[in-house]
Symmetry: C2
Subunit: 207 residues, 2 copies
DNA sequence: CGCGTGAATGAACGCTTATTTACCCATGAT
DNA sequence: ATCATGGGTAAATAAGCGTTCATTCACGCG
């Protein structure tokens, strides 16, 4: 199963347009990318886009939402596979995030940088997904704290868990900002190191 | 000494224009902000901007560069004040970063989000500052590793130090993305928790 | 064969953009 | 008193934007 991290729904041409849009959004941002550029990348003229998407905004929404949903689906699968063991759950979360933000950093970066451009219900929907993603980590940390396998900085309340979850996610998400293929580091090794960092941040008991 | 984190050089009107630009760039991004909006915020018409800046691009460059230089100056002062003690140096770095990215998060966010828009020599100059900022952290980690007060994840080479410095900076920098005043947390407490996290990540010996 | 349909086209729309230009007016110096 | 100048304005410019429109083209079905 090859997983490019790109949106998968819709007709073949919708997929090609979405892929071209992601590529361009990644390189120059969504605002600076014109409908002309997107369609030209598919060998079409501007008007053709409107046979497949309602507007440029709806294309952006589709792309950003699908990337988020895809991450969520991969994440819940990975966490579910080791349910009940907070250390394993946190490790799985970090591995998924690192993989997606180094391997598919174009899509990841587009989703994270451009989602604030969405408006109204579209924005709310994506923000809700992001909150669910964050809460997944918070819940794992709280469960680990309760089982005394974690020792969070700043106490054992929810605030402490949030203020540990956010930095963990921040450091993983922003791999996509600096990761370049020429770095002499395999993805597996990067995952291992970040898992180590996250476990330290959570105060995981070393045994 | 009130420090807004805003650019300070230039004539009074240049400062007002720069401050208005930062405010607008923060809320809607530099590309989506028009010269009209910037000058209107100062009670002027668009053409007036060109009496004080060569172009919109040069205004962006000035703003972004000055914010970076200001952070660098504050940072080197804070590190220099505790030179020789890696734990204190790392703590000072994190405190400066947390303070600037929660207290002055408008300027911080503008600098971090918009700097890729710069081109040519302007871009190179800002990237050079950012590299110096990063290397400051790397050097502190390496010094601490050598003195055996740190125990880095992944060994004691420079790669291990870089791969610890980047996550530490990432988590600090991106406070500006989620920090809102209504969070029930004082800046001092946020600093303390982030210092705790960073020391854990560096494997600081607890004594 | 002829028709319906989905999809692409090229041209135009109305609007906004950054920037330039010509002009005007106050201030301060000679 | 005169003049230069810095800094403002309104207006013009050229380009680009997202989007719409009438038209055409190619294809599958009765």
């Amino acid at each position: 199963m090859t997983d490019t991290g790109l949106p998968v729904g819709g007709s073949p041409l919708q997929q090609r347009l979405a892929a071209a849009a992601v590529e361009l959004f990644y390189r120059q941002g969504a605002i600076a990318t014109s409908v002309r550029q997107i369609t030209e990348a598919c060998g079409l003229t501007p008007g053709a886009l409107y046979n497949h998407f309602e507007s440029k905004d709806e294309l952006l929404y589709t792309v950003v939402r699908d990337i988020h949903l895809r991450l969520e689906s991969v994440l819940t699968a990975a966490v579910g596979a080791v349910a009940g063991d907070p250390v394993a759950e946190l490790s799985a979360i970090v591995r998924v995030y690192v993989a997606r933000h180094s391997d598919h950093r174009e899509t990841a970066r587009v989703a994270n940088r451009e989602f604030p451009l969405l408006t109204g219900a579209h924005y709310d929907e994506v923000v809700a997904i992001r909150r669910r993603l964050r809460d997944t980590v918070v819940d794992v940390l709280l469960a680990g704290q309760k089982k005394q396998v974690f020792d969070l900085v700043g106490g054992d309340d929810r605030t402490a868990a949030v203020l540990t979850a956010l930095p963990i996610l921040d450091m993983c998400v922003h791999i996509s900002e600096w990761f370049h293929e020429h770095r002499p580091l395999s993805h597996a090794e990067l995952e291992a190191r970040y898992v180590g960092l996250a476990l330290r941040m959570a105060g995981a008991r070393t045994h």
